[in-house]
């Protein structure tokens, strides 16, 4: 699974576009649903930073647990990706919206639910930017 490189490049293009070339720390929130490998993501962030000439001392990757909510009955629940079969986990890794093909609300059986949080790439914070 190599989604991490695409996300790392997205993050760095984004902060660079905001005028950031140097930073003490970049904090990235990542949803657990997408089964992102934190080590690969951090490695990719460092490699791409180096290639693009960015000076960032530290990357902190925070994980956010998934929260799903049924749009029909309001029931809220979470999913542990490590307990999903490998092929479905991989589909969700590349495209979290694939979840709608495989899951239903465990309370009422509806396919109309939403990912409230913990989907994938979330908030990005830059400390001490210049």
């Amino acid at each position: 699974m190599v989604h991490e490189w695409a996300l790392a490049e997205s993050i760095l293009l984004y902060i660079e576009n905001q005028g950031v070339r140097r930073a003490r720390r970049v904090v990235v929130k990542i949803g657990v649903l997408q089964s992102i490998d934190r080590e690969i993501l951090e490695f990719a962030l460092r490699e791409i930073s180096r290639e693009r000439g960015l000076e960032i001392n530290e990357f902190t990757i925070l994980e956010e647990e998934p929260l799903l909510k049924c749009n029909r009955c309001g029931f809220q629940w979470s999913i542990d990706p490590s307990k999903i079969s490998e092929d479905i986990r991989e589909a969700i890794h590349f495209l979290p919206e694939s979840i709608y093909a495989y899951f239903r609300c465990p309370n009422c059986g509806s396919i109309d639910f939403e990912i409230v949080k913990g989907r994938g790439l979330g908030e990005i914070k830059v400390e001490n930017y210049e």
């Binding site: 695409a6 590349f94 495209l95 979290p96 919206e97 939403e114 914070k125």
Partner: protein
């Protein structure tokens, strides 16, 4: 500390599309006018002219370009390399659809989810240097259209598909207004299942008329077979349209 809010995947998406010379959004506010047929045929015929061509299916709720190409969801595998590479259908033709992930199961996506899926796909698929990319979009004007039209307007050219039917024309009039207001200077009109009767309409509305494709008597039996699709009775019309695009 600075918190950044706008979607970080957008710049990566634009970078991924930057190596493509021409990106066409095949679009229509009216359903059933043949967007999928047109997207697939244009991509297939363009690739047959020895041009590196991509076909991207962004109709998440009802993806069907794979049916046209005769591909089963389970055989669609994307090579992984810092993201994913599109599937090679045949010489010069590269393809991506979410059916490899959803296995063509029904998914009910609300606007926010569709937009999320849109940026995820555009950010992870590395198309490489293509001559043309044709994007099949869902019918209507939903959140994902608005997102695409406003964010990628400098990179994409819309091909509006319409039949000569009054219902279709009534529907696309609103779409054309939205496209003009979004800032598109060049809007293509492709008349499907027609006889050329929309040429005047295109001129009156300052659209670039690409031409028409008559109803094909062999289309239905050719769906799923790319060789047969390349020998349609309407092939000349398709090549004429492609020559106007290049």
């Amino acid at each position: 500390m600075k918190t950044m809010s706008r979607d970080p995947r957008v710049l990566k998406a634009i970078k991924n599309l930057s190596e493509i010379q021409r990106v066409y959004l095949v679009i229509s506010s009216k359903g059933g006018v043949g967007k999928t047929t047109i997207s697939t045929l244009l991509a297939l015929y363009e690739a047959s002219r020895n041009r590196m061509t991509g076909l991207l299916d962004l109709d998440f709720v009802n993806p069907s370009t794979h049916v046209f190409l005769g591909l089963k969801p389970e055989e669609l595998k994307y090579e992984e390399e810092k993201g994913v590479k599109p599937y090679t259908v045949k010489n010069n033709l590269f393809y991506f659809s979410i059916v490899s992930y959803t296995r063509d199961k029904p998914i009910a996506l609300r606007g926010r989810e569709a937009v999320n899926a849109l940026w995820e796909i555009l950010a992870i698929v590395n198309w490489g240097p293509l001559h043309s990319l044709f994007i099949d979009t869902p019918p209507g004007i939903g959140d994902e259209h608005v997102e695409l039209l406003y964010t990628l307007k400098d990179k994409t050219k819309p091909i509006v598909v319409s039949t000569p039917s009054k219902l279709s024309l009534n529907s696309i009039e609103k779409l054309i207004q939205i496209l003009k207001e979004a800032g598109f200077r060049e809007i293509y009109l492709l008349e499907n299942m027609g006889d050329g009767s929309l040429q005047n309409y295109a001129e009156e509305n300052k659209l670039v008329y690409l031409g028409y494709i008559p109803k094909s008597s062999r289309l239905e039996e050719s769906i799923g077979n790319t060789e047969k699709l390349l020998e349609l009775d309407v092939a000349t019309y398709i090549y004429n349209i492609l020559s106007k695009l290049s």
